[in-house]
Symmetry: D3
Subunit: 163 residues, 6 copies
């Protein structure tokens, strides 16, 4: 049976930390669905469509990755996609409680979906979409922190030119 | 002397975790005042009046429970009500620092009011008003997580029908 | 019904932080049993008998305090003494997980005994029996951290003279 | 390719919390090797041989589980067994830092072995081999916390009779 | 070479906890630049100009303190001012992860600027600009928590009269 | 006035993480005294004399570093050496509470000595003397984690040959 995991997130934008988790996840799962959570309450930098385009560009040669977006309950989405696992990266202690609460709520709602945690690589341990955006806003050099396409898109958004 | 504790909170809405703390608290205190904090900055799902009605429904047969709402400083409210303790539930490490800061500030303002912490039962350890609301919004089955009246009110708010 | 709490610990020796919790506890409970845990595995500075003598000296004018020692399961001891609560002080986040594990295990063994947490006063937040012993060993001035009798006994143990 | 994970530990003794992680792990991996770490420095209650016998008894009908023991570096052992993952359960925040340090050291030593974290079920979140042993020592009823065989062996060790 | 540190923050308003860190910092550094971060996203109680005036009043006799404000990246600002260190106070565990993330991001952007952490004095460990503002809003007595000038300005804002 | 800091520790053995903190510290202080705590209770791998020799070898060309050992209270030792600061590295949240307790106790004993925390570089964030020793014991390659001299000494201790 094919082992499918959902990797949910905002990905606004995707960072090298996310890429690292996906790469590790492919050692465990046959297929990973990178799923953008459509959350109307948040005020994102990139639209869902822009984020889907960026993700498709990042993974265009990787046939084990599917790009998608979803609303509603994560466990319902997982069931619909035939996934039996939710993939999450953990970076630091402050992530832990939130992740636990989420995972326990999800398990209560659907016992057949496991939450699987992988550790973000040490180089990415304190990098997040927010810190990357803040640094990019002020013109800091972040090309080692995000994929090339994200670096360009961030420069575009903030009016700098892409190298 | 009658031992009275204030159990302050938003209760938007009350969950089984809150009920559990109140029930445990009644082993320690003679009377518990469940006090809704009126916080104009927040954007609640239920109005203060709706929340008072729900709480009154939940505790209508319990004569050791008083339902109330308050604004201003918690310690001033406690003094006015003749309470010598503030009751708080603790669920997880992430609660700890915030609770500590609050308790220390309150003690500095009024040394005669003790903050008393009880542990939420294991079944409720990762349940909060927010996760319950989010799950209910998408039609998830939460009847084991909240009192019957809350389950009905949430279904009403989100346009589902109450079983 | 008289409300009785057990305050268990090693008390090797008792510090002002412990005294502070006991004093706060007396605002909540009618009687507190300060109960020395007899743990043969540990290598204490003071014998159980010495610790009982010190505690009796500290609380000789306080008729709401009982001094005792116990072995075996805490919840069995609490039931035997007619106590419905276990009193614990919390100082810092690092205490939290251990206290939680203990409290949950105790609740599983006897559901009728509540664990009640009070906050140690800010002045005592980072004082423990161990740090007090280590400081006293090297002749540091700790008379503000422990009761007078403990200060004298520590000086005796470590060959300093009591002021 | 068969996906094999090592589940290392002391298992002195195995608890229902461990069983829960193994069961969840079998949803992700094709085979799990439950590997007892032979650590001469520790002073275990059960010998390695006794622990192997208990584990074999627990999993005798499960052909996806292998029971083994090892010394030396975990990553060397994993490589020798053809495993590409180390399975770990996480219960609480206090586990997190230690697990992280271990996982990062292991990754530095062998980049091809992933550490995969699963969450212990809520019922087992504050149960450990140590608390189980301590409760059993004083005759507490722990038959809901450990497999039947472990319950019997613990009663034997501590001179109680098995139900 | 003169050792200069930047002490960045919102200082909305400055509290005795901040003063304590600055005083300690002067034992380590020859000069400290207290730098108000201009963050248009936040909705402050005092304008940047008001905050600069308050800080100038607090430190008018101290020639080792410079008051300034800045926008953009902290490390760029530090480089411009010839500072080789960023001074941060730490109060509690919940500060830790955020501070770490910030410090690591800053180091990645400019390796020549060290982040130096000092511990807030125990008396100020749970005091923040937010709790001070909330207490002042309801007329609580906070004159021991903030400099005299801040106490007056807060009373002015909230329509109480300054003692 | 010359700014002197004590960097206390067991250094059994020194790792690249310690070197990293010392190097950062030299940006802040004029002189750092690396001081081995003589703790008879611990059972070290290297004797105090061996550790002094290793440290002298590591810092033989650095005239701002003094190597020493001490017993008794750290603050007394600091006063004797004319140091006004204690330098500590912080790696992870689990260090925080212990470090805080130590720093507060030290401050209470001598208010003129500041504890200054620097962040360990990300590469060393989960490396400690213990993990290094454990890895070396089993012949793992640790030459990137410790100075060359330590690598050789560890191989000697554990019967491997130095490259």
């Amino acid at each position: 049976m094919e082992k499918i995991a959902i990797y949910p997130g905002s990905f606004d934008p995707i960072t090298n930390g996310h890429l690292d988790i996906i790469e590790r996840g492919l050692n465990i799962f046959d297929k990973i669905i990178v799923a953008i959570l459509c959350n109307p309450a948040k005020n994102p930098l990139f639209t869902v469509e822009e984020r889907i385009d960026i993700l498709k560009e990042c993974f265009r040669d990787n046939h084990n990755i599917e790009i998608d977006s979803f609303g509603g309950l994560l466990v319902d989405y997982a069931a619909k996609k035939g996934a039996h696992a939710i993939l999450r990266g953990m970076r630091a202690v402050s992530d832990f409680d939130y992740e636990f609460q989420l995972a326990l709520m999800n398990r209560r709602l659907n016992r057949d979906v496991q939450t699987v945690f992988l550790m973000t690589g040490l180089r990415w341990i304190y990098i997040s979409s927010s810190t990357v955006k803040e640094a990019a806003r002020f013109g800091a050099d972040i090309d080692e922190l995000v994929p090339y396409i994200v670096n360009c898109k961030l420069k575009e958004k903030f009016g700098h030119s892409c190298k």
